[in-house]
Structure formats: structure tokens, C-alpha cells
């Protein structure tokens, strides 16, 4: 255990970026938890006389076309954006890792059918698929989550399937089976936990991608509706004013999006260095 800690410490010392990314993620989670309480203004209260003010001391990120404080809106939106991404990723992780592990363990017909299904999913450009699914299921926030979860599924299924497949005949798996565990127990209690560390990297990288994806969908007008503060829809609303030079309406929520994705991506890269020294680039 102390060797692991030493390794983590060594990686973090050599790579302070990961530490910074971790702090960034922590900051965002904090904003998501406390957003509504620490926001200086009401994120949905309009104040038309103060509309379209550039950033100032009173309004750090300026105000939008209804005079709402952009900083408060960006802050409060963190909760919704992170919640969508987190629930989508955990959903596809839970389903994908379980299905993939059982496929990798059992092989045979189940494996072949799931493989076919994954092939069909992968035959679509994934963002287009998500768009179509939100259209089919109905234009609501929870459907954005389902759509994002489904387009992430193939990666988890393939990954856990491959990882379980190379382990299923190893000595300790045989031992677990020989000592009276059922197949389901072997997969859930022994194989799956063994694959988890490698999947943590995937999860972190995936969170960033899920945020981009959800924001893209709501930028198109799918799922989240105004006046709900959400980064993608804020950019969409600000887009109308960009040709008249109101840059802060796009740049501020855009920067928040970028910051979130950047932190999760860097954290994923850092986790990879910590968990799997062979993959270091």
C-alpha cells in the first residue's frame, strides 16, 4: 500500500498537471454542490435595464440579453452539466462493464450477439446517433442522459470484454471457481474488481466527452430548455449576439465547458500514468 502511495506521489511530483487537474475537478464538484448558494445573483431573474453589459466588477462575466448575471448562470449550470455527464457515464459503465465482463467470461453465442449489437452501434456516427435517439425518445433531459449512455456503451463493453477475456483462464480465476463460487460470483466478485482500475481511466476520459456531447445536444436545442442555466444552451443563446461583438455570452460558458473537459481529460491521462506505467507516453 505504501509502495502504491509512493508511486502516486512520484507520479504527481513528476506531473503536477495531474494534481492541478484533480484540483480543477474538485473545484467543479464544489461548484456543482454549492452553486445555487454561492452564486451572487439569481440565475433566472431578469433585469432588463442591465441587459448585455460587458464584464465588470459587479458582473464578472457580464449580463445576457435579459440582464441575467452570466457568472451566476455559469456557476449554477455546473450542477446540471456534471449531473448529466456523471449519470450518463455511470449508467453506461454499470451496464457496459457487466455485459462486457459476462461476454468475455462466457463467450459463445451471447458474446457473438452482443458483438453484433456493438458493431451496429459503432456503424453510426455517434453524435448523430445521440441526436436521433433524443428525437425518438422525446425532447427531455433524461433522454439526453440515456442517449449519451448508449453511445458510450460500446467502449465499455469492448474494453471490459477484452480485459476479462485475457484473465478468465488465469490461475486465480480457476482457484476462485474451484473453491465453490458460481460463475456469476466469479465475474462479479473477482474478475470485475480486477478490471476496475483500468476502467477508471476510461471513465475520466469519458466524462469529458459526455459533457461535450450533452452540451452539443442542448446547443442544438435538444433536451434542456431555456431559461434553465446550462452551458450548451447559454452558448446557443449567446450565438445570436456574437456578430454584434457580445463575446462574453459565448466565451464564458464556453470556457466553463472547456475547463471541465480539460480537467477530466488531464485527470484521465494522469490516472493512466498512476495505474498503468506501461502506457505512459
Amino acid at each position: 500500500m505504501s509502495a502504491t502511495l509512493r508511486h502516486v506521489g512520484w507520479v504527481l511530483r513528476g506531473n503536477p498537471v495531474t494534481l492541478l487537474a484533480g484540483c480543477g475537478c474538485g473545484l467543479m464538484v464544489l461548484a456543482a454542490l454549492l452553486g445555487p448558494w454561492i452564486a451572487p445573483y439569481d440565475p433566472v431573474a431578469s433585469n432588463v435595464p442591465l441587459a448585455l453589459q460587458p464584464p465588470s466588477a459587479a458582473h464578472w462575466f457580464g449580463t445576457d440579453q435579459l440582464g441575467r448575471d452570466v457568472f451566476s448562470r455559469v456557476l449554477v449550470a455546473a450542477r446540471l452539466d456534471l449531473a448529466i455527464a456523471a449519470s450518463a457515464v455511470s449508467l453506461s459503465f454499470l451496464i457496459g462493464a457487466t455485459v462486457g465482463s459476462f461476454c468475455g467470461y462466457a463467450g459463445g453465442r451471447l458474446d457473438a450477439w452482443v458483438g453484433r449489437f456493438v458493431d451496429v452501434l459503432m456503424a453510426f456516427p455517434l453524435f448523430v446517433l445521440a441526436m436521433a435517439m433524443v428525437a425518438a425518445l422525446g425532447n427531455r433531459v433524461e433522454n439526453i442522459i440515456y442517449a449519451t449512455a448508449i453511445i458510450n456503451l460500446p467502449f465499455y463493453i469492448r474494453f471490459s470484454r477484452a480485459e476479462v477475456n485475457i484473465r478468465r483462464n488465469l490461475g486465480w480465476v480457476e482457484a476462485a471457481r474451484a473453491s465453490g463460487n458460481s460463475h456469476v460470483e466469479v465475474v462479479l466478485r473477482f474478475l470485475l474488481p480486477n478490471v476496475l482500475p483500468a476502467m477508471a481511466v476510461q471513465i475520466s476520459l469519458n466524462l469529458g466527452w459526455a459533457i461535450l456531447n450533452a452540451a452539443g445536444l442542448s446547443f442544438l436545442g435538444l433536451g434542456v430548455r431555456p431559461p434553465t442555466p446550462e452551458w450548451g444552451i447559454m452558448v446557443a443563446e449567446g450565438a445570436r449576439f456574437i456578430t454584434t461583438g457580445k463575446w462574453w455570452l459565448v466565451a464564458c460558458p464556453g470556457a466553463a465547458l472547456m475547463f471541465a473537459v480539460l480537467c477530466f481529460n488531464l485527470l484521465g491521462d494522469g490516472l493512466r500514468d498512476i495505474l498503468d506505467p506501461r502506457m505512459r507516453t
Binding site: 451496429v120 448523430v128 428525437a135 452540451a215 464556453g254
Partner: protein, 340 residues
């Protein structure tokens, strides 16, 4: 040559199950979509129950689902993708008219991304740890984090509003410019064919911003992959042998190393293209680009589902085709590979 044709045939056959899956999926999509299509096609909101029943029968909606699937497959095979309610045109015609705009944008973006990413990746790999290497790495890290819709809007702000270099960011060609006669639908090609260089310039200047926006997004994976594989190739035996034989560095790198280094880059082209088809939707929305994606999006937001279905089918078919081409290119670039 026969080998290539044979492989193309085999690969095509092996992508058929995926295509069939795509068809079934788009069919299910239509079945799941809210609303009764028969009511859409009825004469008006006050159409009688009898009329709706009649339309249901004519559309085959009263038949069992498997039979409807077969009917759908027949419709697709005969090019009948339904009719758009917003434009009143058959979806196939609409898609055909708008596809060149999307393809022109996507291909130009891909070209820009490749022209920038490959040299950057090579240069970074030649001097690992240098300032340039760090610069490229930072560009790659940031590039995948900026959503296309944000980078597009910021480019508009800087180049159109602040600097005034770029033209008004709406549409494919300035409304006051003369439109070249339509031959291929690709404005750049049409204008060049007509010898109308003024129109060519107008179209090209409209294209630059959206194409760059898309290129920025896929620049990162391409440059990163080029750098990584170039680094690996440069330490290999044949590069050392080439250098030992006294070949010029330029020849070793550009002829022998590059060809091998590009193989992994070709492999990820499929994924890159998939990202681009998705990013296309966002970019077309930002720049009011009259392509298939903005068409589908408009239809989607006005609950007109036939175009959406046609669009999804089209995108998936293009993607299957692109993967086929990528496989074939891979075989051409690396004769050792024979994909069964």
C-alpha cells in the same frame, strides 16, 4: 489489382450485417417516434377518423411490424425515403440537393486538418522535448476540449467582428455573388468548371471559417497519432539501416519512415470521420450552412421525422463506406496486411 478488388468485395460483404442493423435501427426509430404518422399525412388537423384509417391502411401501418419492416426495406431499396412536411419534397431529393454542401465542408476540413496535423506531428517527433513538441502537445490537449460550436463562434468574433477579414458567416456563398451553374453541387468545383473565379473566391472565403472550425477539432487526434507512430518508427531497425547506408535524412524520414508512420493514422481516420460527421451538425448550425445536417435539425425541431430518419440512414451509410475505404487504403499502404 485482383487482390484489391477481391478484398473490397469481401470487406463490403462483411459490412452488410452492420448496414442491415442500421436499417433495422432507423426503422425502429421511426416506430418509436412520438406521434402517429398517419395524422401527419392527413389533410389537416380536422381530418376525420375514417380518412386517418384510410391513410393508415395505405401507409401499411395496420400490418404487423415484421411485414412493415420488409415494406420499409423495399422502400429504401427503391429510394423512397418518404416526404418532408416542411419542404413538401421527397426526402431523397432534399438530401441529394444538400449533400454536396456538407461533403464539401467535411472534405475541406479533413484536408486542412491533415495538411496541418501530419507535418506538426512529424516535426514534434523529430525533436521530442523541444519547444515545438510541447507546443504541439498543448495544442492537442486543448484542441479536443474546445467544443466546435464555441470555437466556431469565437472564430467568427475575432475574424468577422474584430478584424473584419471573414465574410458574413451565413451560408455557402455571398447572396450578392453570382451563383455558378450547378454541375456537381460542389461550389468550388462548379465555379472552377465555369471559370468564374470571382464566385470561386466568394465560395472559398465562406468555406474557410467553418472548415477551419471542424479541422481544429480533429487536428488533435491526427497530430498526436502521427507524432506517436513517427517516434516509434524512428527508432526502428530499417531507419537505422537507412541512415547507416548514408541516405539523406530527408529521404529516410519522408520516404521510408513516413510511409510506415502513417499506417496508424489511417487506422484512426474512421473514428476521425465519425467525429467529423457529428461535428458537422454543430458547425452547420453555427454557420447556417445549408447542408444535410441543418436540414435534418430543422426537421427534427419541427417534429418532421422522415428527413431525420433519412439523414441518420445517410450518415450511417457514408460512415460504413468510409470505413470500407479506410480498410482498402490500409491494405494499399501496407501490403503485408491482408484483411480477410
Amino acid at each position: 489489382m485482383r487482390g484489391i478488388a477481391g478484398r473490397a468485395g469481401r470487406r463490403f460483404l462483411s459490412s452488410l450485417p452492420a448496414l442491415l442493423g442500421v436499417l433495422v435501427f432507423t426503422f425502429l426509430l421511426m416506430r418509436v417516434l412520438p406521434g402517429d404518422p398517419a395524422i401527419f399525412f392527413a389533410s389537416g388537423p380536422n381530418a376525420g377518423q375514417a380518412e386517418i384509417e384510410d391513410i393508415r391502411r395505405r401507409m401499411g401501418l395496420d400490418k404487423p411490424v415484421p411485414e412493415q419492416l420488409l415494406l420499409y426495406l423495399r422502400d429504401v431499396a427503391t429510394g423512397n425515403l418518404g416526404r418532408s412536411m416542411t419542404t413538401g419534397q421527397p426526402v431523397l431529393n432534399d438530401l441529394r440537393g444538400r449533400l454536396p454542401a456538407s461533403l464539401e465542408l467535411t472534405f475541406c476540413a479533413l484536408l486542412i486538418a491533415l495538411v496541418l496535423a501530419v507535418p506538426l506531428g512529424i516535426l514534434a517527433a523529430l525533436r521530442p522535448g523541444s519547444l515545438l513538441d510541447h507546443g504541439v502537445r498543448m495544442l492537442c490537449t486543448l484542441g479536443v476540449c474546445v467544443p466546435t460550436f464555441v470555437s466556431g463562434l469565437l472564430l467568427i468574433y475575432v475574424l468577422y467582428y474584430l478584424l473584419g477579414i471573414a465574410p458574413d458567416p451565413t451560408g455557402r456563398i455571398d447572396i450578392f455573388a453570382s451563383q455558378p451553374p450547378t454541375v456537381t453541387g460542389f461550389l468550388l468545383v462548379d465555379a472552377a468548371l465555369a471559370g468564374d473565379w470571382e464566385a470561386w473566391w466568394a465560395a472559398a472565403s465562406q468555406l474557410v471559417l467553418p472548415a477551419c472550425t471542424m479541422a481544429l477539432f480533429v487536428l488533435a487526434p491526427l497530430a498526436r497519432m502521427t507524432r506517436a507512430s513517427m517516434l516509434a518508427v524512428l527508432t526502428s531497425d530499417f531507419v537505422r539501416t537507412g541512415e547507416a547506408l548514408g541516405l539523406s535524412r530527408r529521404r529516410v524520414i519522408l520516404v521510408y519512415a513516413l510511409r510506415n508512420a502513417l499506417l496508424p493514422v489511417i487506422t484512426i481516420m474512421g473514428i476521425v470521420f465519425s467525429t467529423m460527421l457529428g461535428a458537422n451538425v454543430l458547425v452547420e448550425k453555427v454557420f447556417s450552412w445549408p447542408g444535410v445536417a441543418s436540414y435534418a435539425l430543422d426537421a427534427l425541431l419541427s417534429s418532421d421525422y422522415a428527413p431525420v430518419q433519412g439523414f441518420v440512414l445517410l450518415m450511417a451509410s457514408i460512415f460504413v463506406l468510409v470505413n470500407l475505404v479506410v480498410d482498402l487504403l490500409y491494405g494499399l499502404a501496407d501490403p503485408r496486411v491482408s484483411i480477410g
